[in-house]
Subunit: 273 residues, 2 copies
Amino acid sequence: MPCYSCLNSQNLNQLSTLKLNIVIVGAGNVAWHLARELQKKEQNILQVFNRSLEPAISLSSQLNCDFTTRIEDLNHTADLYILTVKDSVIEEVSASLNLKNKLVVHTSGAIEQDVIKYKHRGVLYPLQTFSKEKKLNFKDVPFCIEASKSEDYNTLMRLATLLSPMVYNINSHQRKVLHVAAVFACNFSNYMYMISDEILNKEGVPLDILQPLIKETASKISKYKPKDVQTGPAVRKDKSAIDAHLNYLKEGNNYDIYKLLTETIISKNNDEL
Amino acid sequence: MPCYSCLNSQNLNQLSTLKLNIVIVGAGNVAWHLARELQKKEQNILQVFNRSLEPAISLSSQLNCDFTTRIEDLNHTADLYILTVKDSVIEEVSASLNLKNKLVVHTSGAIEQDVIKYKHRGVLYPLQTFSKEKKLNFKDVPFCIEASKSEDYNTLMRLATLLSPMVYNINSHQRKVLHVAAVFACNFSNYMYMISDEILNKEGVPLDILQPLIKETASKISKYKPKDVQTGPAVRKDKSAIDAHLNYLKEGNNYDIYKLLTETIISKNNDEL
């Protein structure tokens, strides 16, 4: 078995020479960003396959490559087929490709790898929000990869590391859990900003005033565990501040949320002392 | 009455010549950062007054100014007395200074201006977390100011704008409400990160993977209202994703929090349609 550094230099060598022939299936936001970035990294986009004509023309002209809207004209000579279609049709579109011995991957955070029924299958999931207008720096996009076979995993790993320094080996179960975690860390934290905005708005104070503290809170956790930097009346068990805040909120959703989160933080803190 | 631009150039002129004699009361984190920054901006720190000796020596030697631990030796010739002592003793320490016709301000987010019993009183509240070790860029620190008299308000405004471009006119009631809003936007959003970390940790996935999304979520609200960028299963009313997530969480605090926040987002969304 070769030593770690041999493997490493072998890998580097492989990385520098990776050149895949790729078919992009779908022509939405993920397809736009991903295909253009792959092309920048010297990968060969053979064809865009998309059922509706206009997006297919638009993306393929951007990439200066072939396109088709008919499954019969799908190019069967590529090394890799990347499905960027929406979650609900991944299984059906994948089956309709009717490929032999080709690596087929999807790009979804929520769908299991095994809805793809080919022997060579996998997932290449970019964990960021994509919008066509906004330029995306792929260096800030973590990629979660998974494959049914180790040689396919290696291919995806080599491809993903061309795109981003953050590549994670994440299986289908972990990917599902990641979605739950992202709801808390992103959707619910945005909802906390929304409540804050609502409260300040009533008093004629702009949310801008809290922006520096919000940014500091979000960036602190790149260095510290959130548990170790929890601040506020709940973790201090500052009963008079908590009562004053509940008194101000009076009743309703924001009252209930304040109460539940405060009680949870206090009880969690008690357990650990 | 002078026109706006005359007032403006007059103000600029005043800003360029502001030179106050200041006594700093207290020698904790806020005193350290604030006093050094005031000195950098050409303000004259006459004295540090602090009841315990060691911090008084330490800060005054940093500032190269006088210090005292005895109220009898307080310098009565300053223009401005800045109280940086903890909330619970602001009223008592303020009264003990026994000043005549001097501007006395505190630096707390939670205490009313009127606990200071002097005619010339105010608040100069820097809205950031301070720690002695961490260097702070005052350009990122919003200042909330309040004063009982308009000439004192002007003095504080001129002083605060030397320190930061973000200066807000915030009265005692608004400052209290700001504290409630900050609990949601900062303390509770950090708690959301903590739950996320807990969930990922069980599955052997590092929170780092969500860091780019968390940062994006926090910085998006400098451009958009949180209400307009709310994403996730709740706002989409994606019942199957919500059920899958609740099923994964099973029961307990995180289940209750997911349920309450999701129901609130859904009902709020219904009201607005």
